[in-house]
């Protein structure tokens, strides 16, 4: 059939036989090639189709997890300084401007008016409010909801302190079409793809029109690609401009349009588009773009802000409003003009929007590595329950316990003290430091410093430095003793005299006091407050090393603990975090409280995945712990910790303990107030000797920190079974309040002395007590 038709056509021209043969041959070849081409193209299209649908159907975006600080709770009586509140507001992206819009605040003379944005917490939403907050003396002295639902307390939005990013470091906040401000879609389509709803993925006409518009304008106003093509380019293809790539782009755009509806494609585009860069992190999508440039939720943006974001699509770095505000403004106003020209807005609205300042928020102050030590610990805790890939791409929200105000105070205390200590020292091996701050009554880790330069990621000393704890062990030795009230009370005389232990293998151990001296007979509370080694070792040997180890185990120590007597002087290595966890029980009358860095994890939509609830576990007799707390308070007032009051107001009662290891290799301090527990360590990474003690290295870091934090003093409730008596602790007898050596000291009921001594020192034996009983 075909052949005869060909012959008919060819007939009149009378071609030669040879050329006819050549032509036939040519057409057959061309036909076959075309056939192969069509098959290859069809195959290629099928392949591209699979690529397109696979990527588009599956999880379209890898959304990094967001890590939040604890939200600031505001209520009457909350402890926070003006500077602290200012810092919290700035971390949460608040702007200090006189405006009614969410995310702004004003301040004058300690009175703040805050327009909160509202936030969806794991336990429900916190609505938008306008708050009046007055601060005086480091405390909220007035709290009022000026508009919005009334409440006795409210939470600010938590500051984002980090993220767990996929390898490609793309960051985004997913939005749906319902989240858009009304002007966004018209503005985007007007500028990027006028016929979006009419074309089939590619639009040759728009390329021509774009050319025309650009020629008229004298510069590039419109691009020729459709949104669909741009999306295909971003999602599936490399950046190079080759013909083959253009071809692929066109085919894939057609396929995308074939499979999915316009709304779906638009929504994906809005979340995919690249809008800026923050260090290694790339800012994708309008949801995050809005946060990144304005610190506001996308749905709250005004026309001029929308216009700026839409203008940025064309060149986020060229039009970067932070670096090139003039270019950005011109581009923004061009977008507004385009909207005016196509009738989306009237000229009055356009003029008003063009007159607006850019209104760019400060660059979000956190970077991924702002709190490296804390985030490191959070990641370790998360690793117990979550897979790394889920954290990197599921957009989880992780609510941590970090208190940014306390964190910066802690960092600053470490920095300042270490600068002073390192001054004039060998620079090749500077002193290092670590610090842990927890909430005394619930074990939340509020601040964590991993080194002398807190914002450098690296060796996390707070978690990974295992160092001998020195005298920090002593409270546990004395606690073990005081749990036997028939044998030990705070005034039991202890022998602080030299002695030698000879082991079976012939080795000798001769413990010494720090200064090499002896103190003779000293009451237990004095021995602890002044950290006398000989008295501590004798007590420990008397009650048994195993009993002390048992106490450490009860207080949550799981690592190896040597059963050599040298452990009584702290030859046990622990990290600062472990020390904090162990001291938590001492600080809270014998209740172990697991340290927590995470309160809860939710999905991006707010559905709760995990909660990490408060739990307490009584492991020691509160009465015996109360006695140890007395001696640890005495440490601060009269003992090895008293230099803390160079920094601290005398009205702040505290309890604590110094720790020093041989040759000052480790300087420790652990202590607590009514609200906070803090552990500090100072030493060399290579374990070199220093001239420091616990009181001169770690204590200044601790005290500097405590001095700057508004808080409640330590004042434990006297537990059941403990009574206070006036005693003369040197003679170990009851005495009168007005006597010079009188101390009001706690005893476990039944273990208080029965002898009585007068102010002049005359001991009246039991007879007097017997007479007292007679006349009562």
């Amino acid at each position: 059939m075909k052949k005869s038709a060909n012959t008919k056509k060819r007939g009149p021209r009378r071609p030669s036989k040879a050329s006819s043969r050549r032509k036939t041959w040519f057409w057959r070849l061309a036909g076959r090639l075309a056939l192969v081409g069509i098959i290859v193209l069809a195959g290629w299209t099928v392949y591209l189709d699979a690529v397109v649908t696979d990527r588009f159907e599956g999880r379209r975006f890898e959304v990094p997890s967001r890590v939040y600080a604890r939200p600031l709770e505001l209520y009457e009586g909350a402890t926070i300084t003006e500077a602290g509140l200012r810092q919290e507001l700035s971390l949460s992206g608040y702007q200090r401007v006189r405006a009614q819009r969410a995310g702004t605040y004003t301040e004058s003379g300690g009175r703040f008016v805050i327009n909160t944005r509202g936030f969806r917490f794991a336990d429900g939403p916190e609505p938008r409010r306008q708050l009046g907050v007055t601060i005086a003396n480091g405390q909220v002295s007035g709290f009022r909801v000026l508009s919005g639902p009334d409440a006795a307390l409210t939470r600010l939005e938590p500051a984002q302190i980090g993220g767990i990013y996929p390898a490609h470091k793309e960051d985004r906040i997913l939005v749906t079409l319902a989240d858009l401000p009304p002007t966004l879609e018209p503005a985007l389509l007007a500028v990027e793809d006028r016929n979006f709803y009419d074309h089939i993925g590619i639009a040759p006409l728009s390329i021509v029109r774009a050319l025309w518009v650009n020629l008229q304008a004298g510069h590039i106003v419109q691009g020729g690609s459709t949104l669909t093509q741009q999306l295909v380019k971003n999602l599936f293809l490399s950046r190079d401009q080759t013909l083959i790539r253009k071809g692929n782009e066109a085919i894939m755009a057609l396929l995308l349009e074939l499979h999915y509806d316009k709304k779906d494609i638009l929504e994906t585009y809005l979340n995919e588009v690249y809008l800026g860069q923050a260090g290694p992190r790339s800012i994708h999508g309008f949801g995050l773009g809005s946060q990144f440039y304005f610190g506001e939720a996308l749905k709250d943006l005004k026309l001029h802000q929308v216009a700026l974001l839409v203008g940025l699509v064309k060149g986020p770095s060229y039009y970067d409003p932070r670096r090139h505000p003039e270019r950005a403004r011109e581009r923004r106003n061009l977008v507004i003009e385009t909207l005016l020209a196509n009738g989306s807005i009237d000229s009055k609205t356009a003029r008003r929007a063009e007159a607006e300042p850019l209104g760019i928020a400060d660059k979000p102050s956190y970077s991924e590595d702002r709190y490296p030590a804390f985030i490191d610990l959070v990641r370790r805790h998360l690793a117990r329950d979550y897979r790394q890939e889920d954290l990197q791409n599921q957009g989880l929200r992780i609510f941590t316990t970090l208190n940014p105000t306390l964190q910066s105070t802690a960092e600053q205390s470490v920095r300042t003290t270490l600068q002073q200590l390192n001054e004039g020292q060998d620079e090749s091996s500077p002193l290092e430091s670590a610090m842990v701050v927890t909430s005394r009554d619930n074990g939340e880790v509020l601040a964590l410093v991993g080194g002398r330069k807190p914002d450098y990621a690296g060796f996390n000393r707070a978690v990974d430095a295992q160092r001998p704890i020195g005298s920090l062990i002593k409270p546990f030795t004395y606690l073990t003793a005081l749990e036997q009230p028939d044998r030990y009370t705070l005034i039991t005389p202890l022998e602080d005299r030299r002695f030698a232990l000879v082991f079976d293998d012939g080795r000798r151990w001769e413990p010494k006091n720090y200064e090499g001296n002896e103190h003779g007979m000293v009451p237990l509370h004095t021995a602890l407050a002044h950290s006398y080694n000989l008295a501590a070792v004798r007590t420990g040997l008397d009650i048994g090393v195993d009993a002390v180890i048992e106490t450490l185990r009860k207080f949550g120590v799981t690592g190896p603990v040597s059963d050599y007597p040298s452990m009584l002087l702290g030859a046990v290595s622990m990290s600062p975090v472990t020390v904090a966890s162990m001291y938590q029980g001492l600080a809270t009358s014998g209740f172990n409280i697991p340290l927590r860095t995470i309160r809860g994890v939710t999905t991006a939509q707010g559905e709760v995945l995990s909660r990490y609830n408060l739990a307490v576990d009584q492991v020691a007799d509160p009465a015996a712990v109360h006695l140890v707390q007395y001696a640890m308070q005495e440490t601060m007032r009269e003992g090895t910790g008293r230099s803390a009051y160079r920094y601290l107001p005398s009205s702040l009662s505290l309890a604590g303990k110094t720790g020093t290891t041989d040759d000052g290799r480790d300087s420790w301090f652990a202590g607590f107030s009514g609200d906070l527990l803090a552990v500090t360590w100072v030493g060399h990474d290579d374990n070199a000797p220093t001239s420091l003690t616990g009181a001169t290295g770690a204590l200044p870091v601790w005290a500097r920190f405590m001095a700057q934090v508004p808080q409640h003093g330590f004042s434990p409730v006297v537990p059941d079974g403990v009574k206070y008596d006036w005693v003369d602790s040197r003679t170990g007898a009851l005495t009168d309040k007005q006597c010079d050596n009188a101390r009001f000291m706690p005893f476990i009921v039944g273990s208080e002395p029965t002898d009585r001594v007068s102010c002049s020192g005359e001991l009246t034996r039991r007879i007097r007590g017997w007479f007292e009983g007679l006349f009562q």
Partner: protein, 189 residues
């Protein structure tokens, strides 16, 4: 049966928590910060060590008295727990409402907020205990009761409520001997 008996104590506790709000002041002494910190810069605490920090050799600081506390300032203690702050009380009421709706996890969240605000008041811990009873986690509940009791001090009303709650929880978890001991403690008050 068991749950009902715990329920009876909890009703008493409900009244108690509200009464707690009305209890008088007292409790831990609040101390404002020593220096006015400006977190941007690096302020020196007013009584900071000399610039050329003298590193002392002794773990026991020299008795210069300059750094020592005022003589006569002695270790501190108090006879009863801090009272519940109004903000925490409002969260306890919210938790009560959630418990009544059967949203126990929600109640725990609110109670943990209250605990952060008033960490030294007994009522918060008794309420947490109540929530964990509702969740059927009796050993957790027992620990929170013990924690509350450790703060009750001389307050006979809070002591009695705590021991009664403890007795109920122990009986429900099969610890009759422990329950009897707790009851004796309550009766002795």
């Amino acid at each position: 049966m068991k749950c009902q008996s715990i329920g009876a104590t909890l009703v008493v506790l409900g009244a108690l928590a509200l009464a707690g709000c009305a209890s008088g002041p007292g409790g831990s002494i609040y101390v404002p910060p020593n220096s006015s910190p400006d977190y941007g810069t690096a302020p020196e605490p007013p009584q900071s060590a000399p610039q050329n920090s003298t590193i002392r050799k002794s773990e026991q600081p020299e008795d210069t008295r300059q750094g020592a506390a005022e003589p006569g300032v002695t270790p501190s203690h108090q006879q009863s727990a801090d009272s519940l702050s109004p903000a925490a009380a409002s969260l306890l009421r919210k938790a009560d409402a959630l418990l009544a709706q059967g949203n126990t996890q929600g109640a725990v969240s609110q109670l943990e907020r209250a605990q952060r605000i008033s960490p030294r008041s007994v009522e918060v811990y008794y309420k947490l205990s109540q929530a964990y009873v509702a969740l059927g986690q009796l050993s957790v509940a027992e620990q929170f009761t013990l924690k509350g009791l450790s703060l009750a001090g001389q307050n006979a009303r809070l002591q009695r409520a705590g021991w009664m709650l403890l007795a109920d929880i122990r009986r429900a978890s099969g610890n009759t001997a422990g329950a009897s001991r707790a009851e004796e403690r309550a009766a002795a008050l």
